[in-house]
Symmetry: D2
Subunit: 411 residues, 4 copies
């Protein structure tokens, strides 16, 4: 362990109030809030940052929070946590499970906020060990892809200093305590598409007088599988998921329309373009096959950019993590298919590093079926699962990872 940043990070986080941070986490977990409705979460975060000495502003872009700590000359380093939860019914059975039916912190953003609070306090308490400016951001609405853009549109970098470099950290499945870095493309672009199939409604006993949009939508979903299986080269990475389908009200009424919502993940623009074209072509073809009275409505909705780490920044952060946690804990997993709107905070080409911290409880991991990483990863609850349960032993290491990453970039 030779770098001052690593040594300082360990010093500053030696006496973290772990039990209090866990309580903070459990409170957030009990009270999930949907995208752009993170009022309670934002208030909790704002209060903690203010108490730790940061100049804070809330309500940025709706429910966003920022806090700044000016500490002499040096670079401006932004640390970001996202705050929103998901419309998922929690099935973990945890004593601190969501108290709001149908909502759950199933992506770990409650842990991200907790990490940010711990890092904010530690870095503020140890401000004599570094110089520069810390900008801490609690971002709303990462899940819908709107939050970062809204904070930017609301003048984040006019109200606060423009960062020189940004850091983001995300919980992920895997045996708790690994740090996954990629010195380039780490997360994929994401595009939502909505399709409305227009049939002709009628009585369920007389399908010959109707054009059945339920059957048409279902054939469409099965046909969409061929985009990945037949139209994307195997060397490219792409996913198409139909996350939602909805049609009809009663078993014996043929409805007039059906609605499908899908999401595609891509790592290159030409694949994204071809997939969108294929979705349009298949939707049109299936509706023509069905004899629909008019063409389907295909609407390309919200999207996320690809997340591409600055290789030098990522190298510096992964190096300090290797020092702090041990070289064996730092992985290079290659690009993942998830997506983030974090890059929107780096508009204009600001360099950033974004990494994952694995959080699967050791006993869950140990008893997961399979002999290798692939089988076990497929067997444990992943982000967005109603069973997603980050291990509480990752609270302190996640704080350390942020603190050491920040210190290695500050003076």
């Amino acid at each position: 362990m030779t770098s001052p940043a690593a040594r300082t990070a360990l010093d500053l986080t030696a006496d973290l109030p772990v039990s209090a941070l866990e309580d903070f986490y459990r409170d957030l977990h009990r009270h999930p809030e949907l995208s752009l409705d993170e009022h309670r979460t934002a208030a909790k975060l704002t209060e903690r940052l203010r108490r730790a000495g940061y100049d804070t502003t809330d309500g940025i872009g709706g429910t966003g929070v920022a806090g700044v700590l000016r500490n002499g000359d040096g670079p401006v380093v932004l640390l970001r946590a996202d705050m929103d939860a998901l419309p998922v019914q929690e099935e973990t059975g945890l004593p601190y499970a969501s108290e709001t039916p149908g909502l759950m912190h199933a992506c770990g953003h409650d842990l991200h906020v907790t990490w940010l609070v711990g890092a904010a306090e530690a870095l503020s308490a140890g401000r004599d060990t570094w110089s520069g400016t810390l900008l801490l951001v609690g971002q709303p609405a990462e899940e819908t892809g709107l939050g970062a853009a809204r904070m930017m549109a609301d003048g984040l970098y006019e109200r606060f200093p423009r960062p020189d470099v940004l850091l983001g950290q995300h919980a992920a499945p895997g045996p708790a305590g690994l740090y996954a870095h990629v010195p380039g493309l780490i997360l994929s672009a994401s595009t939502d598409i909505d399709i409305v199939v227009h049939g002709v409604g009628g009585h369920g006993s007389r399908p010959e007088t109707a054009v059945d949009p339920v059957v048409t939508a279902c054939f469409l979903v099965t046909r969409l599988q061929t985009i990945v299986s037949r139209e994307v080269a195997a060397g490219e990475s792409a996913v198409l998921t139909v996350g939602r389908i909805e049609a009809g009200t009663l078993p014996n009424i043929i409805p007039a329309s059906a609605r499908i919502s899908l999401n595609i993940r891509t790592q290159s623009e030409h694949v994204r373009t071809r997939m969108i074209e294929a979705v349009r072509r298949i939707a049109a073809g299936e509706c023509a096959a069905a004899g629909c009275p008019r063409e389907p409505e295909v609407t390309v909705g919200s999207s996320f950019p690809a997340t591409v780490n600055d290789s030098e920044t990522d190298r510096r952060v992964s190096s300090v993590h290797a020092e702090v946690f041990g070289a064996a804990t730092v992985l290079a997993p290659g690009p993942a298919m998830g997506s983030e709107d974090f890059p929107r905070l780096a508009a204009g080409g600001l360099p950033y590093a974004y990494w994952f911290v694995t959080t699967t409880p050791p006993d869950v991991w140990a008893t997961a079926p399979g002999d290798d990483l692939h089988h076990k990863l497929a067997a444990v609850p992943s982000n967005h699962s109603p069973h997603f349960t980050p291990d509480l032993t990752t609270v302190a290491p996640g704080v350390r990872a942020l603190v050491s990453g920040a210190l290695t970039l500050l003076n």
Copy 2:
């Protein structure tokens, strides 16, 4: 025209208050009510029956209405109208369209109630022309198949005289002014089935860690098409309609389950049995193909019996209709695939006649594409369509059809 019943029916309905009945109809059409929630409709009907001299009771089986007129010796004849509307968003553009978003009288039950009111008044006014007992029934919840059973369970024939014969009349597509009679099986049995597909939820970008219930449900719906196309003999009549599919909330979350609601129509018990078995087999097979963690839940829900007219009763009613409206207006279309819970009012084997009155407006019929009945029927709005619009010229004939049918069975 030789039968007294025909002559009397024409006499009694010569001066129908058509304009007032149309207003009554339009009022009902503006105020559709869901099954078992027909409070306003039941109140309107009760008021009219009471004013016309019937002893009435409401709230039978929830929202059912009955009125009796005892008029000397003779048979007890029951006339029935159903009262409930459907969860369909009206798209007729009529000036008297539904004022309740998402609800519509898309099956003509408002017209049935209007016909019953007109017949009740005419038969009461002309009570010196016949003897016997009239029992008029406003039945709730025909669409869900629960209404007739609930009225029976609530003691309909203990509170009122048990009928010797029952009559029911229903609006149907076809050039306004035809009367469709079948001297036996006229409507099919109906069975609802619910299927819940259990997959494994997860993040939309990592389908390999999930078991996608949306894709599985869609393949299931496409596979269910083979029941009618491959497993039912062509000489049998059967329909399987998936009226509802629902899964997921957001485009990029793979949900944990999907739900399908379907309805089957059959005309023989062995076909019904085979179809239900096939639904179970296909659901199990598709979920096995998908690798679902557990078997699908297949629940056989509400059902309707087949509607089988008493041939002699039907012959008598169709004969008087031929006299009243002209022989060319009486059709024998054969069994239809629709279903009714009307037969439940005939529990114990009471004889009944049930027929259709066609109600498509003449101009709509004339301009419908096609040269023959089949093409035109397929082109005009049918029951349950958001465009279903009975022609107002059928108000008076529908009253006449009920009055003449009743008179031919009364003394």
Copy 3:
């Protein structure tokens, strides 16, 4: 038993050479011949007719045979048997199974020829009991629908007397010894359709450079199921069977095209028209969805007319059968979905009767699973099955059925 025809028929068939007829049948069964290639079968039939005293001609329309017996004044009655076998690999395990690999008399035409020979001999031997003219026809190529038309085009009724009435008899599954008559529509129209899907071939590892016709053809076949399940009214009888699909040579080459051959059965022209239109629409839509470089080729091929018995002729024949075999053996099963080109011999509106003789061996029937006719019929081998095995006990009754039918129409 009061009719002379019944009594005479029993007399004339009292001493049938059953054992020799069975040998004749087994010989035909061993030597199946494809449509228009029935040279051996035709020669055997011709020889027997000639020996029995008929003036015979062979090679009519290719391989057709006709024999005439002029026997005084009276009507000309045509009896017809079809002669061709099918490209089916026999799996009966019979000692007299087909000796030609891949060919089998799987539709009972060998039995039809045997019945015709038996009837020809009995009626010739007993020619003093009747007067009129017998025209016996051995028709080729019933399976492909070409045989009757070819005999007609080759001047059958110019070379031989035009019949006043025609009779045809066919083997069918069911407990051996029943006679199924329908006084009107008994068999459906049949239409073959060929579809060629044009994709873009390529290496199996690079589907993104190809347009996969295998996947496209398979989606097309699944989509075609909706024609019967969604576009044909349940009250109509229709079938669509894809009997053949063929694409590709090796597992790892994406072929350039795929071929589908299907057959539709209908009982009304408007359903046939709608189904053909739907096949075209679905083929075009699916190929559009796939991004095929050109439209599919949809070719409407050979077709059969509907078989509609003359009700009076059928009534006379079924009456004599009831006398000869007992009233309980005569069924009225209603229209079937099979097809025949027999009506083409009745061009110009000649009256005819066509009926079925059930031929399932009693032990096979008795042990077939199920308690009723429907289940058992579904369980025993039907026509075109590689296990189809007519019971030899039906040889004599089939001769009797033809002889009694003919006698009831002759003087």
Copy 4:
């Protein structure tokens, strides 16, 4: 240009008999031969090698050829060309198109043999410029994956010296004149799977008595698409192609079975295992859904290993290619999904380099639609296409690539 190998290679190939080599190529192209039937091709190659001074043996492993040139001390370097053609109907319209209907050199093996002959002659003529041993191999049956294994089983390295290093070169789409090298995994593993679906045959008009294997096989093929689209992580590279489907003979007979042949390409063993399991699971599930009387037969057939270049060998060869052809012509495209049995010649872990030479004619490339490499690659004919046409300008460069590769490894 500093390396002696590059300079010598250019010297030795300065006066290649290009026109004669083109004639040799056109002759091979006219006479394609199926795997293990390459008698004529093998004879032509043997003759040329012998004339060039090589000790040759033919008939190795059936139709394999080897020729050795011992030229003093130094390493043994093997150069390999595969010789077999494909069951593809050529559609190039070339004057020298295949003269054998249904067979075509659609994968460029004719060009590989031509390159090998050119290199053999040039290296023999210039044998004073190098020392070591050259082993030239004409391998049969690459397409079926059997050829290399058969030559090895037939004692290739007992009859000839065991090589120290192996080189293989393959034609590929892309603008003629590029050299694609990968210093590790370059080609995928390949596994063939055959599936037989057992239904119950019957007459096409009575599907209710049958279990339709055509419909079942088609649903199976559509369901198989989900293996790549839902069960393989996007970061893995995998392909599943159904190259062949076959069922039935006539449109109106439901056959008793259907056969599907598919091929999967994978780059890791755990993905291969999961895909094979998924094929089995889906086949079983779909046949259960169909009600098949017995389980499908799923047979895992021939397979190819992954092709993984020795990084040092590949680096040396790609370096000399950069010198000979210019640095801009050497690409690093990453792993492809194609497969080879070439690695079987390197049994025991011998190092090898395998690379691609792009051969699309310049005018075809220039006019292919699209602005970038991806679109153009998708638009030009690829290997196994009936339009695959290597440009003749690549004859000499391909010889140079082999000669320079060999020289850089010889003394």
